[in-house]
């Protein structure tokens, strides 16, 4: 061991270690969370990652099809009765529909919310070590994405941009304890804050807390964003599936099942601008 510490190898390893510590110190002191190397590594791994995603996507679809065999067999029987050319046309039509589904949804949301400036993004990686289901999308600051931008699907809110690189961004989901979304019950207009905890994120859910104990929120109610600050008003977050009293205060807590398929989503939309963005809301 003593010989190792005197060797040239050790000096090289030690100098790398010290350089890394200095880099970490400098980045931490200036509040930067994206290392210069990250963008380079992301640029190198992105094309290979896309290829692997394509392969794993095929495998996943294969097993999904295998699991849904009974349903497919029934559908197949029904389809046999139809004219072959009609089926062929239908298949082509369905393929086209699937391909355009995402972009149509994207356009629909844009149509409904003319003030939104949105950036469609594909999920390029999921962090296996993140307990809150965080993931990385293939759009970054070069595409106008900034920290704090809301991330949605056509169904509802997914989370927000937690970190931005040049060509990629890391999304913090609403299941994370770092998420604090000002929210209202759409039926009763009772207010609360939506965020995550480990307990709920394990079930794929989040919680709405700080609900007044005199409120009339009920199971089955839909929760939407209250607007102001980071999130535009009226984006559906999820459905209340249970209500309990908060052990630490006199308020209520509701377990919310997100309407967006956070763990199964392939594409998301990042809202890079909306009217009223940055104007402080009740909780954001």
């Amino acid at each position: 061991m003593r010989f190792f510490f005197r060797s040239k190898k050790f000096k090289i390893l030690l100098s790398i270690f010290i350089s890394l510590l200095i880099l970490a110190g400098v980045l931490f002191s200036i509040g930067e969370t994206v290392t210069p190397g990250s963008s380079v590594v992301a640029a190198i791994t992105a094309p290979v990652g896309s290829a692997v995603n394509w392969v794993t996507g095929g495998i996943t679809k294969f097993f999904k099809t295998f699991n849904e065999y009974d349903e497919l067999a029934m559908q197949n029987d029904a389809l046999r009765k139809e004219n072959e050319s009609l089926v062929s046309q239908l298949m082509q039509h369905q393929e086209a529909l699937t391909e355009n589904e995402f972009l149509k949804e994207f356009l629909e949301i844009k149509e409904k919310n003319k003030d939104y400036i949105m950036e469609p993004a594909t999920i390029i990686a999921r962090d296996v070590n993140d307990a809150y289901g965080g993931f990385t999308v293939g759009k970054g600051s070069l595409d106008g994405v900034a920290v704090g931008d809301p991330v949605i699907t056509s169904a509802g809110l997914v989370g927000f941009i937690g970190e931005v690189g040049l060509s990629y961004s890391k999304v913090t989901t609403i299941m994370s304890s770092f998420a604090n979304v000002s929210a209202i019950d759409r039926r009763t207009s009772d207010v609360g804050v939506v965020g995550g905890t480990i307990e709920f994120s394990e079930k794929g859910n989040c919680r709405m807390y700080n609900i007044s104990n005199t409120s009339s929120v009920a199971v089955g109610d839909y929760v939407v964003t209250a607007g102001g600050g980071m999130y535009p008003e009226g984006i559906v977050i999820g459905k209340i599936i249970s209500i309990m009293s908060d052990e630490l205060s006199i308020s209520l807590i509701a377990e919310v099942e997100p309407v967006a398929d956070i763990s199964g989503a392939e594409n998301v939309m990042i809202i890079t601008y909306f009217a009223g963005q940055g104007i402080s809301g009740p909780e954001d």
């Binding site: 390893l13 190397g37 990652g49 304890s177 394990e202």
Partner: protein
């Protein structure tokens, strides 16, 4: 002639291990494969990187750790340089310990994989979760970090035995 063959074989072993790590990385971080959230999650990439320190000793292990750590940090939600530093140091230390302090046998390798995995996850929790301002840091330690470290270190044992068997065959060929 014999020395050039040994060099070739060494290069093949190093390159193939790098390819193996890259494949594990790409599949583990694939957008289409959602791992279970919380207690059931584990990583194969972390023990595979630690095993590089055990198999190829401190020098190569440190560089595998450096490369894999940097790659993990790109898509990590809570660390931006931690994994780079931690895996670099851990793989180097593991490589040093297996030959210079331990007996360089299967049992000591398993102990080192176990210890190094726990060391990685616990320091990550300390720097990225507790010091990172997570409001439920202690709950995260009990419910996420410790079970993940346990399952990951458990997965590391068969992984080590498989990798060792395959590489012994390559070297002896």
């Amino acid at each position: 002639m014999a020395s050039s063959n040994i060099k070739k074989k060494k290069r093949l072993v190093y390159i193939s291990y790098a390819v193996l790590l890259m494949l594990i990385y790409l599949f583990e971080y694939s957008a289409n494969i959602s791992s279970p959230l919380g207690k059931g999650s584990f990583s194969l990439l972390v023990p595979a990187t630690i095993i590089s320190g055990i198999m190829f000793k401190e020098w190569a292990g440190a560089f595998y750790g450096l490369a894999v750590g940097a790659a993990i940090d790109v898509y990590s939600q809570d660390s931006f340089i931690f994994s780079t530093i931690a895996l670099f140091v851990i793989c180097c230390l593991v490589g040093l310990l297996i030959t210079r302090l331990f007996l360089n046998n299967t049992f000591s390798a398993i102990i080192l994989i176990w210890g190094a995995t726990y060391c990685f996850y616990l320091t990550k929790w300390l720097f990225c979760t507790l010091f990172g301002g997570n409001t439920e840091a202690w709950s995260y330690l009990i419910n996420i970090t410790l079970p993940t470290a346990f399952f990951t270190s458990l997965a590391g044992i068969p992984l080590y035995l498989v990798i060792r068997t395959v590489y012994r065959k390559i070297v002896n060929k």
